[in-house]
């Protein structure tokens, strides 16, 4: 695997954030992988959840704070039957105009429902979850918001969580 023809994006992104947005920023490094829990049921029986960091939300939900230097670790829960036309995007880290034309490029909700209806997966969680991917101050994400979403997914008896960045 080769990333971006030699560009070290982690270094470029770090320098970009530190010089232009949030001077204290640095990556939060780890020296070991996080725990791995295997999928314990066949996909055809699995209850699947989806999380995007594309800054998607319902039009009547609060926008993500794209002006905060340290980012915004909050999240939005979106009912899984929501029409893509009812969703909007607020994210300062990428050009949302493309995804606005076809939200399946960041939140493939229509394809997930097709997979469920076709029996490829067993069911979908009650809600999909959305974050805004620029979160430079990560303590609240790790200590509060992440565990809160995890608790909701566990309560929903989810077997598998798929996560997609932007």
């Amino acid at each position: 695997m080769q990333d971006g023809r030699g560009a070290n994006f982690a270094q470029i992104e770090r320098n970009h954030v530190r010089t232009r947005v949030y001077a204290p920023f640095d990556w939060h490094p780890f020296d070991r992988f996080s725990p791995y829990t295997p999928l314990r049921v066949p996909l055809a029986d699995a209850r699947v959840a989806f999380i995007t960091t594309a800054g998607v939300h319902l039009a009547d939900q609060p926008s993500f704070d794209t002006g905060a230097d340290a980012g915004d670790p909050s999240w939005r829960a979106i009912p899984v039957e929501t029409s893509l036309s009812d969703l909007v995007l607020s994210h300062g880290g990428y050009d949302t105009r493309r995804a606005n034309e076809d939200k399946n490029v960041v939140l493939p909700l229509e394809h997930l429902r097709d997979l469920r209806d076709g029996g490829r997966i067993g069911s979908l969680s009650l809600e999909v979850y959305s974050f805004m991917g620029y979160i430079a101050d990560t303590d609240r994400l790790l200590d509060v918001e992440g565990p809160a979403v995890a608790a909701r997914l566990i309560a929903d008896q989810v077997d598998l969580v798929l996560l997609a960045p932007t």
Binding site: M1, G4, A10, I12, F30, V105, L162, T166
Partner: protein
């Protein structure tokens, strides 16, 4: 994304993420990730390219079901339509 995945992993959930940056994922080290070389903001493919969007999602499900160890799998999806991803990786605007 990787930090959020770590929080879910720590809670005992089965997770599988897409990564669009091998370097960042090597730092954060979430349990299991699938590398997709698409531009940021076009994670699942181009606008209207439902075939690729479905294929990336299918690759996620396949990885979730068959990766029996922690680490990164290469999906083989790359972006050759234009230089958008190349410019994004270098923070170049045009």
């Amino acid at each position: 994304m990787g930090l959020l995945q770590r929080a879910l992993d720590e809670a005992g959930l089965c997770t599988l993420s897409i990564t669009q940056s091998l370097e960042i994922t090597a730092i954060i080290m979430p349990s299991r990730a699938l590398y997709v070389g698409h531009p940021f903001g076009l994670t699942f493919g181009a606008i209207g390219d439902r075939e690729t969007q479905r294929a990336v999602l299918a690759a996620m499900l396949d990885a979730a079901a068959t990766m029996t160890h922690r680490g990164i799998r290469d999906s083989g999806f790359e972006w050759d339509r234009d230089d958008l991803r190349y410019r994004q990786l270098r923070k170049e605007r045009r």
